[in-house]
């Protein structure tokens, strides 16, 4: 069985830091905690300040805001976005 993949969306500061607007990520395991995704992304994009951006951001999974990342397990196929502090208006 092939390893599960997710799509990560980057906006605003996260997009500027990584130079990407979206990225396919292969999960290291078929059941992967969302709370581990930040470290995985930082390891793929080191030294661009992504860790600091993630500290002030929230996650969305399949276009729903995540209240508690500790309760979410990724299984592949999800669309995950880093939601930086918003600035509409």
């Amino acid at each position: 069985m092939s390893k599960p993949e997710i799509t990560v969306l980057y906006f605003a500061a996260a997009s500027t830091a990584t130079g990407l607007t979206e990225e396919s990520i292969t999960l290291p395991a078929s059941q992967y905690p969302l709370s581990s995704l930040g470290d995985l992304l930082v390891s793929l994009h080191p030294d661009v300040g992504l860790d600091k951006i993630l500290q002030s951001s929230q996650w969305s999974v399949n276009a729903e805001m995540v209240e508690n990342a500790g309760e979410v397990t990724l299984k592949g196929g999800e669309e995950v976005a880093i939601i930086c502090p918003v600035s509409g208006g």
């Binding site: 906006f11 969305s60 276009a63 600035s87 509409g88 208006g89």
Partner: protein, 172 residues
């Protein structure tokens, strides 16, 4: 011009009853948006227009750029409209029958992409039988949008490198 349009930052529109939420790359037409909430039962229409200001802390702003996670942003916008419809109640001094809504219609339009100085980035129109509810709802919608909707603003300053243009935050 260093503009980035993520493929996920697209135009969107969704109706909620008689109200509408719109994300668009086109200029916002204030007259058209105002007209869209008009109703013969309205005694008041409150309008908020947010425009790009020409300065920030002494720096000259040349333009703003907005991007959205449209799929999620439009859901958040419609949630705000629904909540506002429910929470803004009739003025205490008006004893209208319960069948008369306190808010008739709302239009919430936010622009995406480059917004030059002086042009609107957000227009909110609310029609109501009475002025008080129209004002309250209009302000409530604006504050909720600024806090919650998945839209991001980047500000470009005169004489500064475009790559260093700052992504703003509304909180803190």
């Amino acid at each position: 011009m260093a503009t980035s349009h993520p493929s996920t930052s697209v135009e969107a529109r969704e109706e909620v009853g008689r109200s509408i939420c719109v994300l668009t790359y086109k200029s916002l037409d204030i007259g058209e948006i105002t007209q869209s909430v008009s109703d013969d039962s309205a005694g008041a229409t409150a309008i908020f227009i947010g425009t790009t200001r020409n300065s920030y802390q002494g720096k000259v702003v040349t333009r703003l750029e907005y991007q959205a996670y449209s799929k999620l942003a439009i859901k958040t916008m419609t949630d705000i409209i629904r909540t506002t419809h429910q929470s803004v109640t009739r003025s205490a001094h008006h004893s209208a029958p319960a069948t008369v809504p306190s808010i008739i219609s709302c239009a919430l339009h936010h622009r995406l992409g480059i917004v030059p100085v002086g042009e609107p980035s957000i227009v909110i129109a609310v029609s109501s039988p009475h002025r008080k509810e129209a004002f309250v709802a209009c302000e409530q919608i604006l504050e909720e949008v600024k806090q919650k909707v998945q839209i991001w603003k980047r500000e470009y300053y005169e004489g500064e490198r475009e790559e260093e243009a700052e992504w703003k935050t509304n909180s803190g």
